[in-house]
Point group: C2
Chain length 127, copies 2
Amino acid sequence: MARASTTSDAFNAVAEPRRRAILVYLAAGEQTVGAIVAALEMEQPSVSKHLRVLHKVGLVRMRRCGRQKLYETNAAAIRPLHEWTAYFERYWQHQLLRVKERAEAKAAASRSGSPGSHKITPGERNP
Amino acid sequence: MARASTTSDAFNAVAEPRRRAILVYLAAGEQTVGAIVAALEMEQPSVSKHLRVLHKVGLVRMRRCGRQKLYETNAAAIRPLHEWTAYFERYWQHQLLRVKERAEAKAAASRSGSPGSHKITPGERNP
DNA sequence: TTGACATATTCCTATATGGGAATCTATTGT
DNA sequence: ACAATAGATTCCCATATAGGAATATGTCAA
C-alpha cells in the first residue's frame, strides 16, 4: 500500500506546510484565491490544488461571489486534531516535572559529591 | 516535487493512523516492540518501520534493555502540533456562536413568518 | 457576442510511501 | 561456540503526491 491520500483526513491534509499557511490565512475571514496567491506568494494553480484538498476534507468552506470564489477556514474541522494532541498534555507536563527533578538531583549530587551510576529498570507495564 | 517525507516533521509523521496508535500506546510508559506488535496487532517489521519514522522526528525515545528495546512517547514533541491547532480555538468558538445565532434567528423567523433570502457580502478583508 | 478576468484542471515527472516476505544483526543463555 | 530470541533492514510494488507549464471553464462587462 502507498501512503494514505492527502484527502483521506484532516491529519493528512494538514501535513503540508503550505496548506497550513493557507488555513492560518483564511482563519480570520473569507479570502479570494487571488488574495491567497498574493499574500502567500504561491502559484495560482498550486493554491487551487491545495484548496481542493482542504475543501475535500472539510477544512475550508467555499462560496461563489461573482467571478471569484471566497474561501474560509472551517475551524471546527481542526478540532479533532486539537483534541488528539490534547491527550498528550498530561504527559508532557509529567516530563517537565521529571526534567526539573533530575536537574535538582544533579545539582544536589554535585554539591555532596557522590557520582554513582543509577541502574535503570524497564517500564512497569512490561511482561 | 513529491510529497514531503514522513520524517520531515511531526505533522507528517503523525499523519499515519498506525503511528498515532503507537504514540497513544507508548504515552503511558515504555513498551517493548513485541508488546506493540501484540497490542496493536501489527506485523513486527511494520512496527519497526513506524518506530523508525517516529524516532527520526523525535516523537519517541528509545533505550536498549538487554536484547529488547524500550520505546516511549516523547510527548513534548507533540506540543507544537497542539499549539498550532490551538491557534484556531477562538475561531471555532466564534463559529459555534454563529451557528447558535442562526438557529435562534431561524426559530424567530418561523414564528413571525417572514422568509426572505438574505443577500450576503464578501468578507471585510477583501480588496 | 466577444473579450477580459478569476479559478480550475490536465499532463508530466521525480520521489517517496507502506505493506508483505525474506533476511540480517545483535544479544542472551547454556 | 551455538541456538534462540528480539528487532531492524532490504527488496519489490502499486499508488499518490506536489510542482511547473499549458490549457480549460466560468462569469462579468461592453
